[in-house]
Structures are given as structure tokens and as C-alpha cells.
Symmetry: C2
């Protein structure tokens, strides 16, 4: 198989949960890079909730065509280069897709020396930028404010909470197991955590935020968003990052009953896509590198072995099995 | 009855539609103004959707106590004054409530000469300020953008649309009768109008806003909010002013299914309460007076005669019977 490119392709668009029927595999000739392109041997894949959206329909990017490799951020080694600035042997990341070999163009980002691939695909990658810009640009937390984050044990949420703590906020995480909640408080320095599978989220938020929450960073949507909207402080900011609780719905389900709390509390709810911030990545990276090096931001990775297990890795996000960033090592 | 104060009081908090059982009347002695207070003979009442909220529960103001006159902005003549700056004979407005006589304190606003009471309670009153600050401060319309307003034939919506037109926007109104729609386009200069009782609002918005809407100013909520969220342009602003379609619900109903469009389109949804802008009223008034005098903003009033008809006047808002500002003349 050395001269074939093994791929996991999109066989069927998901309706409801993403099952094995959505995927196929094939082996095709290894592509040749054209002028201005490089050939990459893929080593790592970043597994993100947005992949399900790309599989299902046009969103902020066109839907993945049926038969194409599943679109995914990945990281690999350049084995053939027609780009002067990207030598053979460099480690680059870009939209490699779920395959062994990918052709990227000159916009592929070269990974600086000394950055671990797991950090590059998590806290120093899209996940870290999402946490950084979503929290700071949209949430604008002020010292002494209360920040609540859902999906708090996930790749983005765990970094959001730690940045909020660095900014002098009280931080409450919402996660799905007692172990995750303990990890948030004991290891990551969250002030409190709520287990949404066993606690009444709205009631607990009422106890933990008697004066309301100033920032809600939402990765989950659905009932948890509604619970948070029950407890907005005056001029609260709700950052809509994602709604993983809803991505597997067969049809859109109704939203929160209490949007009028945005009026009463003069609240703001705002969505964003991290791609828009790529031009400002250096700004985030300067802080994130500092914080990781001085230990004030910790990151966790959830590594799944083998390209053929990429669908399993994706499922870990939706079942809530992961703690930290899900990635596949090829 | 000359020396009694006839009042319409809150008998019962509304659950569902506001019916006659929610009100009682009584006649009590005319109050005496204390130091720093004035006694006002009420001439006009401003009838606003928010009154239902004040009747039902604590919102941004405490709920009206049972047995108290229904809280309401009103306008009247000062007949006794213990405030140097407010002479007997002045016309003032403030929270008079639904009664013939009210005691106001020195913060009551004196109406300048030459302002008609109907204008003072609509385009130059809370309604005008709501339209002005909600649209300009939160909606931030830019020339050439598309602005959609619901409740467009109401007191606030009709002014929102006209200000948006002055700011160089394309303006689409949503209203509930063919007559209202014709009035918006023919008299107020809206570019188009949608009749929500006969049209498929989302489909019509798709036709009228092929590139999406940049600002949605919402007075209505519910299905109309959901329809608007289907058609957000990139970085659209949704201004939550009210949700009159929902105020009479017995229990909160689910919200829009498509909040994730705020993420995909990087949209913002924000609520506000006009009280917060009272310190900037002069800013709005300078523009609104200019626009009314030069004819670029027209305002309509829907006058109901007699204090005892105040409940009927309130009902006109919820049935959608009114065009423009509902007020009661005593």
C-alpha cells in the first residue's frame, strides 16, 4: 500500500447521529503536488464538532462533496515541495482531510520548531484561538465578573475557563461527569463545576451565581443555553460558539423559551467563527504560549490511534467521552 | 366626584390574555403633594405593551402591587406645586398611572411650549426614544443596508422604519393587515411590507432580501423572529425591543429553532430598555424634532377616549388593532 493514499470519504450525509454508514474508505494513487503546492504525509488529525456540519450541509463552508475525504484540519510532514518557503521535512498544518497524503498550497502553516503536535492542534491551534477570541473579543470579561462555560471539559471550554481565571473572573464550568467536574476544579482552577447529567443546571447556577452570570460561553446549546439565560446579570454577554447538543438532531428543535431575558437584562448574544480571526492569530499566540509555558493554562488531549478510527474519534465528541482535544494519530 | 380621584387598579395578575377581571376601579381622596412634589390632573395616558409585564411580574421594574393604579406613563396639567421649577399650569409627564390625579416628584418632565400632547407621548416620548436608540445604538444601520422591522405599523416600529430610511437603508416592514402594509409603503416610504397574517414571512423575506437582512428590529418575537433569523446577512444585528406575540402566553413558549444562524452568520442579538437612555434623550430629540418638522418622520396616533377605556386601549395593542401610538384621552 506504500504508493496508495488511504482515505476515509463521505458516503452519506448524516441525518441524526453520525453512524458508520456515513463513511467509506478507498485507496487511490498518491496525488502529485502542482506548482505552488506541497505533498504532505498526514501524521495527526484534529477532530472537531464542526466536521459534522461540513458533512451534513453548506454552512460557513460548502458541504463536503460525497466521495471526497472528510474535511479536517490536520498536521503532517512535507515530503515533496514546490513552494520555496516550505522545505521538505517541514511540519505543516492545514485542511488535510481524513487521508494519508494531502496536497496543500502555499498557505499551509509551517509549525515552528519546539511545538508539540498535540499542542499545535489544540491550545496553539484552532481550539485555542476559538477560546481566546470568543472569550476576550465577544465575552469581554472584566475582573471580578462571573464567567460560565458549557462543554467545559472539552478542548475549547477548558481553555476558555482558564483564560477567564487569568483575567480575574470567577469561573464555573458545566460538564457531563463527576470526573470531569473534579478535573476542572482540582486541576484547572475553576471555582465550581456543574454536572449536567446529575444536577439541575438552572438551580445550581442560581446557587452559584446569586448575582447572575456576566459571561456565558456556550459550546452546547439546547437546555443548557436556556438554563444560563435564566441567570443573566445586567448587560451579560452570551458567546455562541457551538451547540453540540443539537448537531445530531434530525430536525431543528425549538430554542430557549427565555430570550426575553436578553431584553430585561440588556443582554447580548453573539456568534462567531474562528476563521475570521486568523489574521490576528499572533496576538492570541503570544498570550497562549506565555500561559502554557508558565503553567497557567493546561491542556488535555484525547488521542485516538489510526486513521480508520477517525469516525470513532468523532463520535467521542458527541457522546461526551472526551476530556480535552480529540485528535487522531496516524 | 369633583373631589375624588377615580382610578383603575390592578385586581389580578394576568395569566394569558389580559381580561377585564384583571382590573378594578375605585374612587379615593385626591392626594396632596408633599414637599418637592406636584399634583397633576392627568389628561393623557400612554398605552404600552410593557404595561402587561408590569401587571404580571417583576421585570426591569417591580410588579405593580395589587390594588395600586395600573402603572403607566401619562401627561397632565400641574394644579398644585411644591416645586419651584414646575409652576401651576405647566404640562408635565411621568409615571402618572391610570387615574385622574397623580402626585409626581421634581423629576417630572415639563413639556416645552408648542409640543402637541400626542407627539409628546409618541414620537417625542418613550416610543420615539425607543425607536431612535434601539435602531441607531444597537442596530447601527449603514447606508445601503437592509433593515427589517416587525410590528412595523406600531408606534415604535413605524418610527424605526422611517429613521432607517433617513439613514439610507432599504426598509421592509412586517405588519398584520393589508391596510397597514399599504400605509407603510405609501405614506411612510417603506420599500416593502409583509402581511404576516396572509404571507409566508420567511419566504417573503427570502424574496425581498436575497442577500439577507442586516438589521432586524423586533417588536414581536415568536415565529416572526424565527423567520427573520432564517435570513441574516453576515454580521447582522438583531435588536430585541419586545415580543408582543408572546406576552399573553400562559407559560413561556419555545424560542427560535435557528439560533445557530447567529454563529454561521456571525450575528448579534441584543436587548435593551429605553429607560437606560433617558440621560441621552436630548440627543434623540434634536434629530426627531428636525425630522418631524421637515416631514421626513410621520407619526400616527390611535386615541381611545376616557379613563375607563384604558383596558380596552391596552387590548388594542395585543389584538393588533392599532396603527401608531395607542393613547387614552381623559
Amino acid at each position: 500500500m506504500a504508493d496508495l493514499n488511504h482515505r476515509i470519504t463521505l458516503a452519506r450525509r448524516p441525518v441524526g447521529p453520525v453512524g458508520p454508514e456515513c463513511f467509506a474508505t478507498d485507496d487511490v494513487p498518491i496525488p502529485s503536488p502542482g506548482p505552488g503546492e506541497v505533498l504532505v504525509a498526514v501524521r495527526w488529525l484534529s477532530i472537531d464538532p464542526t466536521i459534522r456540519g461540513w458533512m451534513a450541509m453548506d454552512t460557513y463552508l460548502p458541504a463536503i462533496p460525497i466521495g471526497d475525504p472528510v474535511r479536517s484540519v490536520g498536521l503532517g510532514e512535507v515530503i515533496e515541495s514546490n513552494v520555496d518557503a516550505i522545505p521538505v521535512g517541514a511540519t505543516v498544518f492545514g485542511l488535510t482531510g481524513w487521508q494519508q497524503y494531502a496536497v496543500l498550497d502555499a498557505t499551509a502553516t509551517v509549525l515552528p520548531d519546539g511545538i508539540d503536535p498535540t499542542a499545535a492542534l489544540s491550545v496553539f491551534g484552532v481550539t485555542g484561538l476559538t477560546a481566546y477570541f470568543g472569550l476576550l473579543d465577544l465575552g469581554r470579561p472584566q475582573p471580578g465578573e462571573t464567567v460560565v462555560v458549557s462543554g467545559a471539559a472539552g478542548a475549547t471550554g477548558s481553555v476558555v475557563g482558564q483564560i477567564a481565571r487569568i483575567k480575574g473572573c470567577r469561573v464555573i464550568g458545566i460538564a457531563g461527569t463527576a470526573e470531569k467536574c473534579a478535573w476542572l476544579v482540582d486541576e484547572l482552577g475553576f471555582d465550581a463545576a456543574i454536572n449536567y447529567r446529575t444536577d439541575d443546571v438552572s438551580a445550581r447556577l442560581g446557587e452559584l451565581c446569586p448575582h447572575g452570570l456576566d459571561v456565558f460561553f456556550d459550546n452546547v446549546g439546547g437546555d443548557i443555553l436556556e438554563a444560563a439565560l435564566d441567570h443573566l446579570a445586567m448587560r451579560a454577554r452570551v458567546v455562541l460558539c457551538g451547540a453540540i447538543s443539537r448537531y445530531n438532531d434530525e430536525a431543528p428543535r425549538p430554542g430557549p423559551r427565555n430570550l426575553m431575558n436578553l431584553v430585561v437584562q440588556r443582554g447580548r448574544m453573539e456568534g462567531f467563527i474562528v476563521m475570521d480571526y486568523m489574521g490576528r492569530a499572533d496576538e492570541a499566540m503570544a498570550d497562549l504560549v506565555t500561559w502554557v509555558l508558565d503553567g497557567s493554562v493546561k491542556f488535555a488531549v484525547d488521542v485516538v490511534e489510526g486513521l480508520d478510527n477517525a469516525p470513532v474519534a468523532l463520535d467521542r465528541l458527541f457522546s461526551g467521552a472526551n476530556r480535552g482535544k480529540v485528535m487522531v494519530r496516524l
